[in-house]
C-alpha cells in the first residue's frame, strides 16, 4: 500500500513536471508568434508589451546593444523608420524550459526589407530569447538577434595541398 502510494505520488509529480514543461513550450511558442505579429504590424506598443520591465537587447545590424524599455522602444521606432517595410517570418523555434519561470527560445527567421539600393533583401537571421514568467505571462528579458553567417571556407591548415604537376 505504502509503495503504491509512493509510486502514485512520484508519477503525479513526474506528470505534473512534464505538463509544466509542455505548458511552457506551448505558451512561449504562442508568445513568440505574438511578438512576430506585433513586429510585422510595426506596432511598437504591442511589441513593448512582450518585454519584461528591464530588458536587455543585442541586435544584428550595427551591433546595437542596450538595456531598458525606453532604449528598446527608441530602437524599434528608429528601425521602423529606417526600414519601413521590414517583416519577419518565423522558420523554426525551439523552446528550452529551464524552470517554472524561465525558458529559452532559439529561432531561425527570415527578415525581408528594402535595401539602400531599392532592392528587396531576404536575410536569414537567428534569435535567442530569455523568457521569464511575470504575473502569469511570459516576457522577453534578454533578446539577442543576429544574421546567419555565410558558410566559412576551411582554415588554411585544413585545405589539402594542390597536387604536384
Amino acid at each position: 500500500m505504502k509503495m503504491t502510494t509512493i509510486a502514485a505520488a512520484a508519477l503525479t509529480l513526474f506528470t505534473a513536471g512534464a505538463a509544466r514543461a509542455g505548458d511552457a513550450k506551448s505558451e512561449v511558442n504562442e508568445q513568440i508568434k505574438a511578438w512576430a505579429a506585433a513586429f510585422n504590424a510595426h506596432d511598437v506598443g504591442k511589441l513593448m508589451a512582450q518585454y519584461a520591465e528591464d530588458p536587455r537587447y543585442i541586435y544584428a545590424f550595427a551591433g546595437q546593444e542596450g538595456a531598458g524599455k525606453a532604449s528598446l522602444e527608441a530602437f524599434y521606432k528608429q528601425s521602423f523608420q529606417m526600414t519601413p517595410d521590414i517583416t519577419v517570418k518565423l522558420v523554426s523555434y525551439d523552446v528550452i524550459p529551464v524552470n517554472a519561470t524561465t525558458a529559452v527560445g532559439m529561432g531561425v527567421w527570415e527578415d525581408t526589407f528594402t535595401g539602400p539600393d531599392g532592392k528587396k533583401i531576404t536575410a536569414p537571421t537567428h534569435s535567442s530569447e530569455l523568457f521569464v514568467k511575470v504575473g502569469g505571462a511570459w516576457k522577453v528579458r534578454v533578446d539577442h538577434a543576429s544574421f546567419v553567417p555565410p558558410p566559412q571556407p576551411p582554415p588554411p591548415a585544413a585545405v589539402p595541398a594542390k597536387p604536384a604537376k
Partner: protein
C-alpha cells in the same frame, strides 16, 4: 505577532536591494570563472585538446545558435568544432562580461570576445563576437553552459559618463 510580521516584512524589504546586489555579484563571479575557463580552453594550441577543454564547459545536451548554425548537444558540437579549431591562428580574449542572476542555480551571461581567426588572405583577422549564455549549476556544484547564442559584432558601447551633479 502582527507587529513581528510587519517588522519582518520591513526587514525583508530593506534588505532586498542588498540581496539582489549580492546575487548579481555572485552571478558575475561565477560567469567570469566559466568565461575564463572557456577562453583558456580556446587558447590551447593543440586543436583536439582545445575542443575537449572547451566542451568541458558545456552540458551534454547544450544548445547553440549562431556562428556554428544550430547545434543540439555535445555530439553535434563534436562534428563541427574540430574543423573550426584546426585554424592555427585561433585565439580569443574576453573583453566584457555581465551577468544576470535568474535564480540560485541559473545565470544569464552577456559577454564579448575578441577572437582572431585566419582571414581569406591567409593572415590573422580579428573577429569580435557577442555571446549570451545560460549557465546552470550542476549537482556537483560546477556551472556549465546549457544554451548559448554567439554572433559577430563590435564590442559594447562605453558606459555613459557619470551625470554631472549640480
Amino acid at each position: 505577532m502582527k507587529y513581528a510580521i510587519l517588522a519582518m516584512s520591513m526587514a525583508l524589504f530593506a534588505f532586498a536591494p542588498a540581496a539582489r546586489a549580492d546575487a548579481t555579484a555572485d552571478a558575475k563571479k561565477e560567469a567570469q570563472k566559466v568565461a575564463d575557463a572557456f577562453i583558456a580552453a580556446v587558447n590551447v594550441k593543440d586543436p583536439q585538446k582545445s575542443v575537449e577543454a572547451v566542451l568541458a564547459n558545456f552540458t551534454e545536451d547544450a544548445q547553440h545558435i549562431g556562428v556554428f548554425g544550430r547545434v543540439h548537444g555535445k555530439k553535434e558540437f563534436m562534428q563541427i568544432l574540430p574543423k573550426a579549431f584546426a585554424d592555427p591562428n585561433r585565439s580569443a580574449r574576453l573583453t566584457a562580461l555581465d551577468a544576470i542572476s535568474l535564480d540560485k542555480d541559473t545565470i544569464l551571461s552577456i559577454s564579448h570576445f575578441d577572437n582572431v581567426v585566419t582571414g581569406p588572405d591567409g593572415k590573422p583577422m580579428p573577429l569580435p563576437l557577442r555571446c549570451t549564455r545560460l549557465l546552470q549549476r550542476q549537482k556537483d556544484g560546477r556551472w556549465l553552459i546549457s544554451a548559448e547564442h554567439t554572433s559577430f559584432g563590435p564590442p559594447p558601447p562605453p558606459p555613459p559618463a557619470a551625470a554631472k551633479r549640480n
